[in-house]
Every structure is written in C-alpha cells, then in structure tokens.
Symmetry: C2
Subunit: 248 residues, 2 copies
C-alpha cells in the first residue's frame, strides 16, 4: 500500500476511484481551469491522466452531469455548464405576455444605496453585521405591469465597481454586470420559498391591496467555491405563482 500523498484536502484514502476522479474534476472546474465554451479533455485522455479505464471516467463524469456541473454533447465533447438557473423558483411565476409567450421581465432599479449590512443579511453572506454594503431596490415588470419587487444586498468591497455605473446603464439582468465589472461569477444559488401578507409598501409597488398574499423567494447566490456572493429577497403576487412537483 502506497503512503498517502500530501495535498491540500485530505487525500482520500479508500474512496472508489471514480469518486477520486470526480473530486479532481470538481476542483479543476472550481479553479476555472476550463471555460464553458471549450470542451474538457476527452474521456480517453482523462482515463490516461488518472490511470483508470474509460468506464471509470464515464462514471465520474456521469455524476457531475447529474449534478448539473458538466454537460455532454455526442460528437462535440464535454463542457462546463454555464448555469442558466432553469430550476429557479422564479420559473413558476407566470412570465407570459398577452399572447401566452414566455418573456423575460424588464427591470427598473428604484434605488441604489450604501448602507450598513443588517445582521440577518450578514449571516447569510458570512460578513460581520454592520459591514459596508450596497443595496438595490428593484422592480421587475411585464408589459409595464409590476410583477416582482426585489431587495438585493452585496458586500461593498467586492462590488464597489457597481457604484460607478449609471442606473440607466444596468440591463435586465444583474449577474452579467457582476461578472464584467467585479470579476464575480455566480455558479449556483439556494432559494427559500415562503409567503406573507403584503405590507403597505410592497402592496403599493405591486399595485395590490395591502394584506394580499405574496410569495417571497429568498436567494443566496454562490460562487464556484460556494462562497456566498449576493443575498436577495423577491416578492410577487401569490396568484401569479404555481409550483408543481412529482412525489414518490
């Protein structure tokens, strides 16, 4: 038995080989070793590099595909998946226009401010309470009708470049701005769904009666290293929301 090699994470003593190959690939993906546009090495190459058979490589890749990290394309190669947030809970709001076609809602930033981070947000972002933060208030609309109110918090140090951008220059999506101006790439997120009665402010913004039921979605966006980057809370009318699952 060979002695365990030294390395930063515990060197994985008796795990199955496909498991170790998967860990190695995961680490390389997290280190941005491959761009989403270029294929990762072929299965034959990976088999040779890791000293295992192709079948074992396939099993490792299989599990990363199942986890949504990689995507395979027959004849083209295997690619790091650019997250498209297809499974986001927002998908279950009825983002349809008058003709029934899907539409991305427009965004209107109502306010951008520099404030101290409250305790609950700081806990989610692993910051100290009161740390400098950037906060956005945003409204999302469909055909000029309000659909969602959003409250977005970012740690100021990593995102201060956003303070120099004119509000009118922001597009409908924020994550491309994080990437281009702050070098921060959102890789995944955790969402929590709850519901509440609309307060006066949210009711006014969403053009509802106070007390109307709202769906509340809280999201912590994570980087490839699973460090929390952004915290946001979004509210929309419950009547517009419908979430379906299969259970066993």
């Amino acid at each position: 038995m060979t002695p365990a090699p030294f390395g930063s994470p515990p060197p994985d003593t008796r795990l199955p080989r496909y498991h170790r190959v998967r860990e190695a690939l995961s680490a390389q993906i997290a280190a941005h070793q491959w761009q989403p546009e270029e294929p990762i090495p072929t299965e034959a190459e990976l088999a040779q590099v890791h000293g295992v058979s192709i079948g074992t490589v396939r099993k490792a890749v299989d599990s990363l595909v199942a986890a949504g990290v990689l995507a395979r394309f027959q004849g083209r190669g295997t690619f790091v998946r650019r997250p498209d947030f297809q499974s986001s809970l927002f998908r279950f709001f009825r983002f349809l226009d008058a003709n029934g076609a899907f539409r991305r809602p427009a965004s209107r930033i109502l306010k951008r401010e520099e404030v101290a981070m409250p305790g609950a947000v700081a806990a989610a972002l692993k910051q100290t309470p009161g740390a400098p933060a950037i906060r956005f208030h945003r409204l999302r609309l469909l055909d000029e009708r309000p659909l969602l109110v959003e409250d977005i918090w970012l740690p100021k140090d990593r995102f201060k470049a956003l303070l120099k951008i004119e509000l009118s220059e922001f597009g409908d999506l924020l994550y491309p701005f994080y990437e281009q101006h702050c070098g921060v790439l959102v890789a995944s997120a955790q969402e929590t769904l709850t519901a509440e009665a609309a307060g006066a402010r949210h009711a006014r913004l969403l053009e509802l009666e106070p007390g109307a039921p709202l769906i509340v979605i809280e999201r912590v966006a994570l980087g490839a290293d699973r460090q929390p980057l952004e915290w946001r809370q979004s509210r929309g009318p419950a009547g517009q929301f419908r979430y379906q699952v299969e259970i066993r």
Copy 2:
C-alpha cells in the same frame, strides 16, 4: 436481423438495449410482479433473461433507482420501493412539537359526504362531471392546534367500502385504509403549490384572521399504473411553511 416480436406495446425498434430492459422491468413492476419485501431477480439472472451483459442490466436498474422506483442494497438485493412520500411538499410545514422533535399531525375528520363530483375534480380524476363521489373534510392538528384543513375527493365506485367505516375508526393516515378496504395502492402523486388569502371558513378552522396568507397544496394521488385515484386540497398558514431548493 430478427423480425420484431409481437406484443401489446410497440416492440421498441431501435432503442438502446438498456432502455428496453428498463421498459420491461417497469412493466413488470407496474403489474405487481414483485412485492416490495422480496428482491427482484439478481443482476446476473436479469442479464441472462434479457440476453444482455450485466453492465447493461446495471444501467437499466440505475435509471430506475434514480427515478425512485427501485432501491438497491448491497449484499441483500434490489427491491421495488414502497413510496414514502419523502419529497412531499408537506414536509416543509413545520411539523414540530414544543421540543422541536418531528411529529405526525393528528387527524380529525370533520365530515364525510356523498356528493356529485364537480368539474374541476372530475377532470383531475378522469371521471365525468357529476359522477358519484365521496368527500372528506379533515383537520390536521399538532398539539391540539390546527395546522392544515383538507378537502379530499374520491370516486365512489372504487372507494365505497370507506362509507361503512365509523369516522372514529379512521387513523391519522388515509392511504392504509385505501389499501386495506379498497385494494387501492397509492404509488406516487403530483403536487402543486399555490397561495391565497384565507376565506372566512378556512380562517375559522385554522384560527387565523380572514385574509391571512395560506399555502395551498393540491395533490393528485396515482396508482402504479398512473391512474388518478384521489384528489385533495390542503391549506395551512403560510408562516408555518418554508420550502428550500438548490438551483444551478
């Protein structure tokens, strides 16, 4: 090339072999060929029966395990899974007692009646509108405090045995009664989550203010053959509900 064999479903011309093996296993499971307590044939046997290698059988079984239909146990065998509804949305209601331990809520049947099935329910159960139906009103409680109101609809013909049971004899769970008295086994279900403001009746039953936000979960319970068996709508206070997902 051998001629396509005759059979009830189209005999699957050029599908991968593991796919055909999976279909065959699926059909046998749906036909109750194996009980959940007994293992299905070993991988070696299945390989021989279907004329494929063990690796191909494993791939077929893999996909059924991923779908939650089978469960494998090293050294024991592979079994048809008895559904435990672990993924039900109800799991996200806070079913906790004063000490924070999980508890199954108690059930109190408020009413049982024979009525004609309304159109919406009939559509979900693939019955004709106005067909004879059994309807239960039920309250679920935790520590004597109401947690959920339920409205349950069943087609009368398959479930008439339930009419002979005293209301006091029903336990906390209905599905065992379906199985024992009506020979009907629930294999899976589809759930839809929405929210609404509490009407007067639901508010009173749940001891809330009228207009308080409610989470509404609609469930269609399906048999092993995916025929709809039961339709139910459950309502609970939104503040007690919290649903979490990981998105990519």
